[in-house]
């Protein structure tokens, strides 16, 4: 089996790493860069930065954060949110991202995916598909970070984006997102088995076994996760993890740092969080024990004599 990639996904609002449930009820967890560096050191195989308000304003506001991150981490960084033109992509790549993921703008203008794949290479263009399973069991594509239903059938759209030339698909289940009850195996399998490009499963990880399941039964080629890692790595901190008096932590002129209860009260203060937590290392160990290959640190004989 190919080595499965484990990808922390960082949802970002202003300078902050935030996390919600089903794309709603965001809590501030810390600063994005701090977590990015932590994940890099902990053995993450790639990272995803998602600007959560970008698509609404049709612009990605992460340029400065990308620049600062790219000087510190040397693994692939995918940036998503509000990317709607070739020029946007150029700016984000120039800032230090290695790939961009596009959802909303691609639904509005599918040609953007084919043009971008030709110009920057397929390896650089990811189709982000955010699917919601409605009561009749149909999966539909939602845009604007889960705010609007397009009515487009997700499996058909996946086939189409492959034809348009993208290199991989980032597939998020909105129903499962932030719930910690496991990935949507059915959705992942439906799409991964119909396309020949890699599919990154996202949304729902809450324990080690969830990763194994979506790889073995859902045929995921890579797995992304947020809460399960964020809350693990945020846990050991004492007291306030962020000082809001610091200028760089403010968004614009007014201090608007969102829901900071989590930072004030810590993990125990958030009874609504149903997600379990685990480290990247624990997940990799679990995968290895289940016969799934990942990048692990090697302890074979050293080549240095």
């Amino acid at each position: 089996m190919n080595n499965i990639r484990l990808i922390p996904r960082l949802d970002i609002k202003g300078p902050n790493l935030i996390k919600g449930i089903q794309f709603d009820g965001y809590r501030v967890i810390g600063t994005a860069e701090e977590f990015a560096e932590l994940y890099y050191r902990a053995g993450a195989d790639e990272l995803i930065y998602q600007d959560v308000v970008a698509s609404l304003y049709r612009r990605n506001s992460l340029i400065e954060i990308i620049e600062r991150t790219a000087n510190k981490i040397f693994i692939p960084l995918t940036v998503a949110g509000g990317i709607s033109s070739i020029e946007d992509i150029r700016k984000i790549l120039r800032a230090g991202a290695d790939k961009v993921a596009i959802n909303t703008a691609a639904i509005e203008n599918p040609k953007l995916l084919s043009e971008a794949s030709k110009m920057f290479g397929s390896q650089c263009i990811v189709s982000s598909i955010e699917a919601y399973r409605s009561n009749n069991g149909k999966y539909e594509v939602w845009v604007d970070y889960g705010r609007e239903n397009t009515g487009v059938e997700a499996v058909e759209w996946a086939k189409k984006v492959e034809d348009l030339g993208v290199g991989e698909i980032l597939l998020t289940s909105i129903n499962r997102e932030g719930m910690g009850k496991g990935y949507d195996i059915e959705l992942t399998h439906k799409i991964s088995s119909i396309v020949s490009i890699p599919v990154i499963a996202c949304g729902g990880a809450g324990k080690q076994k969830d990763f194994t399941e979506v790889i073995k039964q859902g045929s995921a080629n890579a797995v992304a996760a947020a809460s399960v890692f964020h809350y693990y790595y945020a846990l050991p901190k004492e007291g306030h993890t962020m000082q809001f008096k610091k200028k760089e932590l403010r968004m614009g002129k007014n201090i608007d740092s969102g829901n900071i209860d989590f930072l004030k009260n810590g993990y125990g203060g958030q009874k609504a969080i149903t997600v379990g937590t685990c480290s990247i290392k624990e997940v990799k160990r679990e995968l290895t024990e289940s016969g799934i290959n990942t990048r692990t640190e090697t302890f074979f004989k050293s080549n240095t004599e």
């Binding site: 089996m1 080595n3 990639r5 040397f74 693994i75 790549l93 290479g121 390896q123 990048r295 090697t298």
Partner: protein
Amino acid sequence: MNKNNIVIVDYTLGNLYSVKRAFQKVGCEPLISDKKKDILNAQRIVLPGVGAFSAGMKGLEEKDLLDSIKDFAKTGKPILGICLGMQLMMTQSEENGLHEGMNLIKGKVEKFDPPKETNSFKIPHYGWSSVSIPELDDGVTGNPWRATVLDGVAVNSFFYFVHSYYVHTDDPLNSIGVSNYGRNFFTSVLKMGNISGCQFHPELSGERGLQIITNFVSQKY
């Protein structure tokens, strides 16, 4: 270590800025350039690249850089090809029809032929794979990675790959690192004299990748 006068060749295809940042991280200040003069005056050049083989050759032709790179190669100064940049140094590629390469190293670029029975080996090959020492029949002894870009790197270290095609060198001795995807074993690191190439992206391969870049900028000539 000569930290300066390193040129990253800009032929429009490639993640030039990621490559530049990785060199900066190890203390160098490389120049991104598409000028012949800069290439010929450089102490070391890097040929990055992502995308299609024919588009890469077209980019080099349109910028009229083919001869400068070939001339630079003859000087004995170090060249590093990354991903497509390495593939372009080969004799030919079968990517979307047969295309001629720079022929700095004899060999071919071939397409992956993964097993179709499972969903595990998709094309492109995205992700981390380990690099090991090729097994040779003629009893080569000693450490084949000494004084190469792999010097000091542990055998079976992981690196980040993104590719659908791979390199096959005519002379097995040019292949100093091999990796495996599906049923294909392929050359992931090559070396011939002053020319080095890696199929993976050292600039995206964490601390091990930075080691490769440090080795390249420390190479004596």
